[in-house]
Amino acid sequence: MTINTLAKGGWYREQMTCFRKMEKVIVAMQDPDMGMKMRNQRLLITVIPHAMTGRDVIDWLIQKYNICEEEALHVGGMLVRYGYIYPLKEPRSLVLRADETPYRFQTPYFWTSTRWPASELDYAIYLAKKNIRKQGELMEYEKERYSLLHKRINHTWDFVVMQAREQLRASKQRRKADRIVLECQEQAYWLINRPPVRSLTLHYSAVLYHTVLSCIESCRRALGRNRVKSSICLEGFVKFSEQYQNHDPIMQGCLPSNPWISDDTNTHRLERWSFSFMELLNDPIGRREFMTYLEKEFSAENLCFWQACEDIRHGESSKIIQKVEDVYKNFLAPGAARWVNIDSKTMDKTLEGIKHPHRFVMDDAQLHIYFLMKKDSYPRYLKSDLYKNMLAKAIVPQETKKSVFPFMRRQRHSSPSPAQAVTQVTEEDGRAMGAGKAGTNSAAGSHV
């Protein structure tokens, strides 16, 4: 399901919808009844009419949209960044300040959406005007662009200079206040559309440039990958499906003892422990059984270490430092009570990492121990009497032809919500909760 869909060249289209929305806000701000109160602002010796302070803008936004100050600052900031409101005193600082700093609305003639895209010619005329009006007034980056434009559109340069002179002459005939306002508006427009640094994302080609560069980089990386032959990979899927086929209830309609009522171990569940080490560890009962086996073999510290590392990886950020220290004390320090056997290279790297503990500092050591258990203890567990006895005593699930959903035609007991346990559910709790605690029999629900 999509809310926004971008077609080719859609970046422009996406921006336009944003502009329209911002324009709605701007229009509302200038509403004679519900809009903002304007006042005259002093700029040096001239009085500029119809200006407002940053504080006014923020208060209006808070009141109108029922938002907090932070959000109002954020939204107002966007309006300034995209040129709908410009600062009078420091035109190059395109931020909204929540104080007495004066701002003015940009005239719709200079809205980015109206004049998209800003043309080379207009920019040349603007720079020429600035150059003529006050020699040497152009900033460094403006000087560079001016000379580049001069080379680029040299054929129309006469027109550019003529236009600039005409516009300057016309503006001299205006009142000083109006002239200053017009100059501010024009300056604000060009600051947005030809920013000195490529920081604003308005510049379409800058964005495209970036995208293409990152695409090239990821292609290069992809070319360097190791790939596996299709025949091997695809064979893997066939094998996986075959292995799990009997355990797929939707396909087989083959029932293990109803997992929704009891926590019995049945042969299917035990069989899955032999499919992969991950299956054994993921099943809480499997993990417990494996621990019991390791205790007999006096190598339980490996699983304890692995579990402690998992805890660090997935636990609360605030407790990481403490947990890493504990793990070091219990498992890694020389002479530790439950010292784990890691190769010296990994040990050195881990010890180095512990000096600056973070969430993944134990990863290498954990992986080493994981593979140790997987290669050594796990296969022996599968051959052990412990596992074999369990398998022999387990319940064989009923095989039925039709798909009988576990809770069809059975009493539906409500089971306690996991949220009832204050702390993490332990296996013992799990057993107690699962053992068909007789709750209320709910009324028959809708059945198809």
Binding site: R152, Y209, V212, S230, E235, P249, M251, S317, S417
Partner: protein, 353 residues
């Protein structure tokens, strides 16, 4: 174009050409190890008969389109979210509504159940993803305990907890995915690379558990490393927006559903698309996919109100499930594989088995 842009413009064209050349080379490399097709390998497997799957439950209670749902690990509870801002936690077994949370925003497009079962995450048009702890006190206003964790600059389209309640992974219309620390709300890692809205993500079921896949409106499906934030692999073969991505149970592949009315299967080790699930009679876009427990079946929900079940290996359609009266927004197989839940714009959820 600006004069600065003109300078870049010349290099931009040549960069684009270089990019296209690299893409062609990549396709060639990928093709080199393509020695057999999936349906050929699958010839020796038996043909699947039609599924005898029926609606077993209809969950009524939402007042508007149901946009998302997620199962709890206990295999009977689920959480669903809707366009009217309501999030409901159900016991699908008994049809009891256990919790109801009203959010101040509409279009709650993403919801997820925490692994512990003690909290849910939800988010959407408010550009945030919040975590709500589930309390059993019926009089307690759960919305008051809602905690904002993720903050994006556009709508949140998908969310999932990682292996614990402490970390949340989100994807958003702002084109990024992000990993958050639930306790502090801190941004742990952000993932940049999509050039349009990201609509879906899924965590990999792997031994090391450090990758996830995302799909978006730029027609790309990207695989990411959660720790470094890097884009490891990228697939671009769909012809329209990718609405949903889901890993194959072994973690070696994933499937995607798209507005181009196809679902596709990508192998991560071979690094290419290995199957396309399409039919001339299927015209409307697919919005969601999920695998059955063995990975043999792929359930896909479409905008023409149906759910199609595909044989993943042979590439053929096994069954069609009718019943919903509007678009399917989400299908999810229960954690033990016994049932399929579908959420729809017809305001209901159905359990099939």
């Amino acid at each position: 174009m600006a004069c600065q842009g003109l300078q870049k413009g010349e290099t931009l064209a040549s960069l684009k050409r270089e990019c296209d050349n690299l893409k062609k080379k990549l396709e060639e490399e990928r093709g080199k190890l393509n020695d057999v097709e999936l349906h050929q390998v699958a010839e020796k497997t038996e043909v699947l008969g039609a599924l005898s799957v029926k609606t077993r439950r209809v969950l009524k209670g939402h007042g508007n389109k149901v946009l998302c749902m997620d199962w709890c690990k206990d295999r009977r509870r689920l959480v669903s979210s809707s366009q009217d801002g309501k999030v409901i936690v159900w016991d699908a077994f008994t049809l009891n509504k256990e919790h109801g949370i009203t959010l101040p925003c509409t279009w709650v497009m993403a919801c997820a159940y925490a692994p512990s079962g003690c909290a849910v995450a939800c988010g959407g048009l408010d550009n945030k993803c919040s975590v709500v702890p589930l309390s059993l006190d019926k009089t307690e206003n759960l919305a008051a305990k809602k905690k904002s964790v993720a903050m994006h600059t556009n709508y949140v389209s998908g969310c999932t907890f990682t292996n614990s309640d402490m970390q949340l992974l989100t994807c958003s219309g702002d084109g990024t995915c992000a990993l958050w620390d639930v306790e502090s709300g801190q941004l742990l890692q952000s993932f940049h690379g999509h050039t349009a809205d990201v609509l879906s993500l899924d965590l990999a079921p792997s031994e090391t558990g450090n990758t996830f896949v995302s799909g978006g409106c730029d027609k790309k499906a990207n695989v990411w490393d959660m720790r470094s934030g890097q884009n490891i692999q990228s697939f671009e073969s769909h012809e329209s927006d990718i609405n949903c991505v889901k890993y194959y149970p072994s973690g070696d592949a994933f499937a995607s559903a798209s507005d181009d009315a196809t679902c596709r299967f990508y192998d991560l080790r071979a690094d290419r698309e290995v199957a396309v699930y399409q039919k001339d009679s299927i015209i409307f876009g697919a919005s969601t996919v999920d695998f059955s427990l063995s990975g043999r079946l792929l359930f896909a929900g479409y905008n023409d109100y149906t759910i199609n079940a595909w044989d993943v290996l042979k590439g053929t359609r096994v069954s069609v499930l009718f019943g919903h009266e509007n678009r399917i927004s989400r299908v999810r197989v229960s954690p033990d594989g016994t049932a399929l839940c579908s959420a729809s714009w017809d305001n209901t959820l159905r359990i099939w088995a």
